[in-house]
Symmetry: C2
């Protein structure tokens, strides 16, 4: 606790300093990133990409934490993927030199933000999927005397953004060619929208379609990059995309880019399940991602047998697709953190803005002031609840304060 | 746009300045608070409380915006209600002198934050519902040589926190009396957990139970405040609680406190419906709350007939209990903001972290770069997505940048 913290910074996640111990010194709730699995995940995913001859551009929207971006780059990442112009300039302002923005850049104020960053040295790529946007970008960046790198976005029927078929791709490529300020340097897709009965086969086919399309475009002379970019992959099927991209021709003449985001802290359910499926598809795969994000909160009230109200809510932790997952309980008067109680059988039944309802055994030994560590299902929507998160070691000592820039 | 904005502050909602025009100068998405309905709501709710002889302590967790807290106090509010210790110190650091924290204060670091604020002059109240917490608080504040004002929380069976019956209240009052550092000054409840077939009657009965309990405690000499506090009310049934509190005896000898939070910007569906019900219960009620919060976002992609992808996601706007509600469309090349297109018949069908899927008529005249203003159902979970929001006038000129301190 630092009583001299300037008033203007008294915000959630602020009033602590290092060195501190999470359970005794930090106002809870607090979001913790576990040092050891974090380091493991950073190395694991980089090695996975390396092994498949692909570059890694982790999706930074997951964390929006420049200190984690830097660790991803130090581990070998090619760049950082982002979703918006404001995310892009936030990352660039924190020293990120190469950003792949996997959305259309829309609106003059957003274009101006990006143009400023490019002028200041940012290597930037965005995607396009429609002629209107191509003309807008062409006019804007020509007026700024800048070249904008664009990738054609390839979508799927019933999906999100992106060209649905080869005809649309051709028309888009022609529109790009008509704009001297735009450089077409590759293609982009996102397989995460694929569903249905045979989704694995559909993802594989989509990966092949991306590869075929970038080859066709390269052969036609439409691509203005020595090693054109072909990129896809969220956090669920990155193995299938890596497999589709893992070809001698791509390794030699292209820049295949994978961009999972959630891997950096993984999770306790949604992506834990995806990891099991990945291992089932490749039993020889060494190691696996490990959960590295937990939110610590107090037992707030014990109003009835079988019910604990936790001082944790939608303002503090993601709750989709699953409610927060209780993991371990630390007794309030027990300074020995080596033996918390396993409470994975307890179950959150409801979440409100500032409270979680936890169904517990009638016989549970629990007191107001006990601390419970919660895991999540899908980490993205926990990160954006915090301005500052805590990097902790295995004894829950705070090693570093990680700032987010949402 | 201010190119000299320091890098460290390049975060969502930052890169703009006043004067600016929302549609042409601001990187979207952006959250806007409409000046005129905001001012109307501030005055309307204060008058409602005044008319019922109650004080108003708006729940500040809705906005966590000190500039709005100040406007609420200037309109006549008695204090600000908050949910956590960190919220409390954030508000106090921004000049809020009286805070009603409607949760138990749990955990030594949280107690220390509050003790520091009390020492620095904060008038602070929190609630208690269990003897363990009472003992913890008694010991902590005695050691700090401070008096802590507490209110007994009265709950309901199957509800959230709070004593379930008179027996529990009596035991709690005895525990408080045994702690010289604690001053019992009133009782608190929250009717928002009430449900079932006859919820209106149940809310009324709960209001009466609160009144009866505070009277009983006062008669017993347990209360250490000249005009003991009795407080309840969220944003849905504040009229029923106000009615229960609106008694000559309470006006004279007590401090009845209402604490709705969402009213300040109201909403377009959930609380709009609650307002209709309030008007139906009291047809003579003058005026009503008006929606004052909108989020503006670009049409990002038009990949298929009947589908618009919007550059707006879970990171930008609340999506519970209803997906974002499209209101008006502003054409990209049309600087005249006086005649936007009514798109309330369009419908969001899905939201992801950074995208909304909008079902639109096949014949809709719409282009990438058009701007759509969205309303929300329940405002709280939109505020916490933004570090800075824009106060705008009727022509969408930015009048003030409103900072949040989540």
């Amino acid at each position: 606790m630092n009583k001299t913290t300037p008033p203007a910074t008294r915000q959630k996640g602020t009033p602590w300093s290092t060195p501190a111990q999470l359970l005794t010194d930090v106002p809870l709730p607090a979001a913790a990133i576990l040092e050891t699995p974090l380091a493991h995940n950073l190395a694991w995913m980089q090695r996975f990409a390396d092994d498949h001859g692909a570059k890694l551009a982790p999706h930074g929207k997951t964390t929006m934490a420049p200190a984690l971006f830097q660790r991803q780059l130090e581990a070998g990442a090619w760049g950082i993927t982002l979703a918006t112009a404001v995310q892009t300039v936030a990352a660039h302002a924190h020293g990120i030199a190469r950003v792949l923005m996997v959305n259309q850049l829309v609106g003059r104020p957003n274009m101006a933000l990006v143009a400023d960053a490019i002028e200041a040295g940012l290597e930037y790529y965005c995607v396009v999927d429609g002629a209107d946007n191509v003309r807008d970008l062409g006019a804007f960046f020509a007026a700024r005397n800048l070249t904008l790198n664009v990738l054609v976005e390839l979508g799927i029927d019933g999906g999100r953004c992106g060209c649905r078929d080869a005809e649309q791709v051709d028309a888009l490529v022609a529109a790009i060619a008509a704009e001297p300020a735009l450089a077409l340097v590759g293609i982009e897709g996102y397989e995460g929208m694929i569903g249905g009965d045979d989704e694995i086969a559909a993802v594989r086919a989509y990966g092949e379609r991306l590869v075929d399309t970038v080859k066709t475009l390269r052969a036609s002379g439409a691509l203005q990059r020595e090693a054109p970019i072909v990129t896809a992959s969220g956090s669920k099927w990155f193995d299938l995309i890596a497999e589709a991209f893992d070809k001698a021709e791509l390794r030699e003449h292209y820049t295949p880019v994978l961009r999972p985001g959630c891997y950096v802290v993984h999770d306790h359910k949604l992506y834990a399940g995806a990891m099991e499926a990945i291992k089932a598809r490749d039993p020889a795969l060494e190691g696996e991602l490990e959960p590295a994000l937990e939110v610590f909160a107090h037992v707030q009230s014990l109003p009835e047998p079988g019910l604990a109200i936790i001082a944790l809510g939608k303002r503090d932790i993601g709750h989709e697709p699953d409610l927060p997952l209780p993991l371990r309980l630390y007794r309030r008067h027990d300074d020995d953190t080596s033996a918390p109680v396993d409470v994975r059988s307890w179950r959150a039944t409801k979440i409100m803005d500032q409270h979680v309802f936890l169904e517990i055994p009638d016989s549970a030994e629990v007191a107001v002031g006990d601390v419970i560590a919660f895991g999540t299902s899908h980490p993205c929507l926990t990160f954006d609840k915090w301005r500052r998160m805590l990097l902790v070691d295995e004894r829950l000592a705070v090693k570093e304060v990680i700032e987010t820039c949402f």
